[in-house]
Symmetry: C2
Subunit: 889 residues, 2 copies
Amino acid sequence: MSDPFAQQPLVYFFGQGRADGTSAMKDILGGKGAGLAEMTNLGISVPPGFTISAPVCQTYLETRSFPPGLRAQVERALQRLEAATGKEFGGDKNPLLMSVRSGAAVSMPGMMETILNLGLNDRTVEGLALRGNNPAFAWDCYRRFVQMFAAVVFGMPKSSFEVLLDEAKHAHGAAREIDLPLAALKTLVTRFKMLVADHVGEPFPEEPMEQLWGAIAAVFKSWNTRRAIDYRRLHDIPDSMGTAVSVVTMVFGNLGEQSGTGVVFSRNPSTGERQLYGEFLSNAQGEDVVSGARNPEPISALHTRLEGPYLELQRMASTLERHFRDVQDMEFTIEDGRLYMLQTRRAQRSGQAAFRIACEMVEEGSISEEEAVARIPPYALDQLLHPMIDPSATLDLLATGLPASPGAASGTVVFSADRAAELGGRGEAVILVRQETSPEDFHGMVASRAILTARGGMTSHAAVVARGMGKPCVAGAQDLDVDESLGVIRAHGREITAGEWITLDGSTGTVYGGQAKLLVPQMGEHYQRLMSWADRIRPMKIRVNADTPADAHRGRDFGAEGIGLCRTEHMFFEGDRLTAMREMIVAESKAEREVALAKLLPMQRRDFEGIFRAMEGFPVTIRLLDPPLHEFLPKDEAELVLLAGELGKPIEHLRRVVDALHEVNPMLGLRGCRLGIIYPEITAMQARAIFEAACTVAARKGRVMPEVMIPLVASVVEFRRQALLVRQVAEEVFQERQLTVPYLIGTMIELPRAALTADEIAREAQFFSFGTNDLTQTTWGLSRDDAGHFLPLYIESGIIEADPFQTLDQQGVGKLIQMACDLGRKTRADLKLGLCGEHGGDPASIAFCETVRMNYVSCSPYRVPIARLSAAQAALSARGTVDRTKATL
Amino acid sequence: MSDPFAQQPLVYFFGQGRADGTSAMKDILGGKGAGLAEMTNLGISVPPGFTISAPVCQTYLETRSFPPGLRAQVERALQRLEAATGKEFGGDKNPLLMSVRSGAAVSMPGMMETILNLGLNDRTVEGLALRGNNPAFAWDCYRRFVQMFAAVVFGMPKSSFEVLLDEAKHAHGAAREIDLPLAALKTLVTRFKMLVADHVGEPFPEEPMEQLWGAIAAVFKSWNTRRAIDYRRLHDIPDSMGTAVSVVTMVFGNLGEQSGTGVVFSRNPSTGERQLYGEFLSNAQGEDVVSGARNPEPISALHTRLEGPYLELQRMASTLERHFRDVQDMEFTIEDGRLYMLQTRRAQRSGQAAFRIACEMVEEGSISEEEAVARIPPYALDQLLHPMIDPSATLDLLATGLPASPGAASGTVVFSADRAAELGGRGEAVILVRQETSPEDFHGMVASRAILTARGGMTSHAAVVARGMGKPCVAGAQDLDVDESLGVIRAHGREITAGEWITLDGSTGTVYGGQAKLLVPQMGEHYQRLMSWADRIRPMKIRVNADTPADAHRGRDFGAEGIGLCRTEHMFFEGDRLTAMREMIVAESKAEREVALAKLLPMQRRDFEGIFRAMEGFPVTIRLLDPPLHEFLPKDEAELVLLAGELGKPIEHLRRVVDALHEVNPMLGLRGCRLGIIYPEITAMQARAIFEAACTVAARKGRVMPEVMIPLVASVVEFRRQALLVRQVAEEVFQERQLTVPYLIGTMIELPRAALTADEIAREAQFFSFGTNDLTQTTWGLSRDDAGHFLPLYIESGIIEADPFQTLDQQGVGKLIQMACDLGRKTRADLKLGLCGEHGGDPASIAFCETVRMNYVSCSPYRVPIARLSAAQAALSARGTVDRTKATL
């Protein structure tokens, strides 16, 4: 291994108006260290200090020792610090005290450790007491330090100290720690230190240097706490990043009424309004704000209390926002009337605020429209488009599962699709709760406000259908024991029965008891303006996956420019249609099958007419029947008997059909174009429905652009035969109607072999749509339905970085897609290329589609705005004009 | 479309010692036409004639019309023919009569049509009568011509004519047609022509030119009869080839006792013995030989009857064999003491003959050793290595299925594996008959002579296991209704019960009632000599797939140079082992699991020791546990209850385990290295068994070369983690034993993603073994177990050319393999590459492996000789020194 420290310093000093680092060095200094350096360089009042680089953290965690040279560099920095402050580290008179803070390149709020007041011991505490002329203050600092050091460095529970503190307060009738008499504070420090000695087996370290190294090591170690690891996993932050450590001269907000501490934003992060926004706590240290022991005042109160520092703060906020060209989130302390800035960073903001701020900064001339578009994080849209639980609501957590479809909803619990349809039909708010859902639950899902399942993953039936309908869904809530027959949910010893209210948040995967207050989404003028910029920027079209006229309309409302995937089979799952479909499946001859198909024809045609009308001439890609036929048959014997009666068939025949259709691996079985090849009459019926509908709409002056998609093609011969049949039917219909409509025939590329032989297929196919769900399944040899047995462990243990069904695996599946695009275009230069499936709504996957120059991506209606934005951001990133990383916070 | 006739003539004349064509023009002239041309050029006595090229056939079949210029060229050829023979086509005196014969580039015996005596009508028949001075002969020829023309050109059933013929024979008390009085023959011709006129609605064509064009068109059309199409499908002959038509002057073997006709081989095609071999029929036309109406004499009889023509025939045979440098199969006719050769072609030969002839021709200096190797068709080995049914046996066909594993066997029917084990254990010959087999039937299969199943394809469990054991198997015999519980097979209204004898032929897929006589295979010196040449030629090593010491020995006996695939799971299916395995699966903690694994360890170690010893230092590739765990659990409730008792676990727990392990698509589920990642203790146990066994053998001066294979890798990270664990265990064992053995760790490339990221995987893996069974399943999205629903139709209707599970799909799967080889070698130049799985025993697939420069292929023991031969042939073909096509006949 090469020595990572051969070139770079390990320690970066800042103070006296100059810093070794800059804001561009986040990877090395962490966000906090980089901010402190940049502010120092800008001449802003920052307590001097130094930052130990993040690569040191990696070395420390690997080797459990500090790299050579670190001690010397830290000692050198300490000397500069003493020179800059005129204080002495460990000195009796004017002791230098320090805070030791973590800070990675990416903000991980509250995940790692901080120690304040480091450098205090029985000698230096007296020096501090002299300085503020306030021994109680000094001993309270000391008491806090011991407590914090013990917790962070020795991992002692805070409660042990709280007990002693409460005892002391009780004994002296003191409401707050600061109200304790000096003697009591001194006793507390002694007792705290004895507690530590008992726990550690050694006395509390009095030596400031020993304290410092202990604190540095502890901050490094805090990178690998369970919660920090979980946080990184959740936010896709690489483990190798490591944290920097900033050691900063202490300033005291708790020196009296001329002191205080707070947090401000340069604009309101909830609404985006342009005004200083934040909170302030008089006579307090930062931890008092965090602990919630005292209630802070709004920042405006500072104006009255300490006008000078307030105006100074306003100037600083404005300077920093201008400098960083974005809204800042800042920490400050006022020590005896003097303002110190302790941290600045890009402000997190609500979805609404993100849009307003971006728009207004364009108006102000601070940023370009392209930058504005690049800056909207995709989650901002999620928030904007879905109801959310009021942050101020008190919640009663029942269980957690997977955040399968975003948004929040409240409703009464129902356990069956029929009941959901019944109550939902009457306008009641219901939530369908199932072990897992199947296509037969579809009507119940339509009638519910949200869906909750105990089993299944992010791509389970419930999740996929819910996202398609834009309904909140929590899937795979394994804590729940759903007893559908008894109508009861058991969770952690509690029981929820049918009719009780629950609330769920599909954005976070949480389920609550009762009816929580929800906030309704707002898409205002800022949204519209920014999205119009995005639409201008992106070359890729955005289409919607829509199976019904209603979905098609919804997609159009969200800005879709066509349908990328219309799954005809979803049309077959309702009432009469399902019966006709089943009649077709159990038919004993081609003639019988054609009778059943003739019943389905007018239903399909009607749907297609509605869809074509809704899309007003935008292209509509219709996939021919795809799923294995057994999916349409009843699952249990009782239903089968019922069906036998309904169709007038002997039950034995139906059983034989069920048996014959049984497959060991249905995913790799008789489905897709294989069905159309075995039963050409199905393809013929569907083609007829499509072209008759197209002609009907065209005859009334409507524009239509059907694109017929042959699914699951592995070989060009399959495609050729099905395409020939479709073309024959099209010609027949055009003859009958004396009318011709333009159309394309193409295929879904969803098997590796199709990608590998794309040059041949493109000789016949006019478009490719990448079915990345199935392509991922086959490329990985990984069944979506079964991946739950090991995929979570794979992700948790870092074998794979992300669920390949959510974010496209660019290395494997992406390589096949790239190959198919290249081979396909080689044969047919104007081949139309698109992607449908779950990945079409995922920003990282959309960015990939831009790099291979796809013509469009298609996603569920509620993902259309995110896709529009992501496509624009991907285009900007590809052009290299705007740094895309700025939008990722 | 470009004009295929722009450059080439449509008609090729031969006669008077010169021909327009040569034997190299098979594609254009067909085998028959090319042979006639070459013989003419050689000065051999051939009746003159001309050949219409095969491309004309393609045009005719596409357009249903003859290409421009054909008529003129045929007329010109007829003129040359008249000049050469001094006869006149349609002439009254000395009429030119012709045979019109089909002949494609590849021999398709009996598949297409022939018409003899063309040119006869009411006038020309008198000319013919004059010539031979034999009116009865002339009218019999006429009678035959009408009958043949009606059948071939008008598609009339032969039986209509047979009725009239029988009537006449009966009326005149004639035993043979030739015994009929002249008047009766004339009446017959008239009645035949009336029958044709009735059927066609027009009079029988009297005009010779009209007869000729009708015959040419009919021969072309016969290319597309059902049986011809089926034959081509079976023998992988492209439909686009088409047939040529040879129009040849008639010579008559039925002119009297100085005439005759026959077929000879230049060597004995059954034994390979060097002597003229064949049959002869005096005073007869060719069709008499075919129809079997008279019994021919052995060719030696000709020597006594007509010594001159016999000696001439011997010279001709010798000339032709020398000229074509291979054994010839010739047709001849003797007309009035004069010998005419009508056809010569490479002789089909038995497996035994193929080896003997090749060896002896090398001895004679006619061909090189390389040519000898290139000439052995793979089927010759199949015949040589397996028992076959005596061709002279009278058979009672019961049913047909798939030829799933070659060879023939007789035995009594048993319906359960236990019963098979019981009777087979006593040495009785039994055949296991099942609906389909599962791993639990393994012990029964071991004890049976052959396996017969009613369901399943060429890659079903029964087929794969039977091939592995070298036992005959007929799978998927759908005509059979196998009732295992009642112990009866029903087939076409018959019933076979347990204990009755049947015979099956796994090379053809046929099942017979009773005990047929079998011929035992013989591998003599010719086999040994030829295989030693093959071994010298081939660069690729041949390994064997072997799971037991017995298989390993068998593989060595067949010449295997290592084990390419040792499937450890097969070791777990027997008795105690299965119980220990199940104990491991249902374990409720890691500790419990380790207890069960500890029981399996010594069993595995013992197997590995035996295998290492058998392989004497040749490499042994051991695949870690691969199949989904549910395959090891009982299938029905009763057995589950039994198991619960055996293991002392509550039945509810076992049911939960079964439930939890249930998968929707087990092929894409928790298996392969995913198991080892979830349960590292399994990998650790297996690694320990491997290295302990290796050390034990090495300690006793044995050489060992284990190659540990991590299965189902999709990502390099999976491989890295499992390899690390294996290496750790190896080090532990080496420490304990104070001994080190060399070993490799590699992976099976069986998922598209592994092939796509092969460069990364090769960074860690020392070898790749292509698991083409699973790679085909995932690349095609095609489950082997379910493909039976549509794959047969796909093959039949020409959507795919061959079952991709039998012959490697080079276009799709092969492209991935090529990519993986290139990427892998880019990272690791000395990466060892091999292929295991069904394709390793398939000649075409082996040839592909040679083109991508694999180090070895591995196949089941009984395929090893074929693989050795095929690898040598592939190498010769790649060098271009020997034309590989010669070996395909």
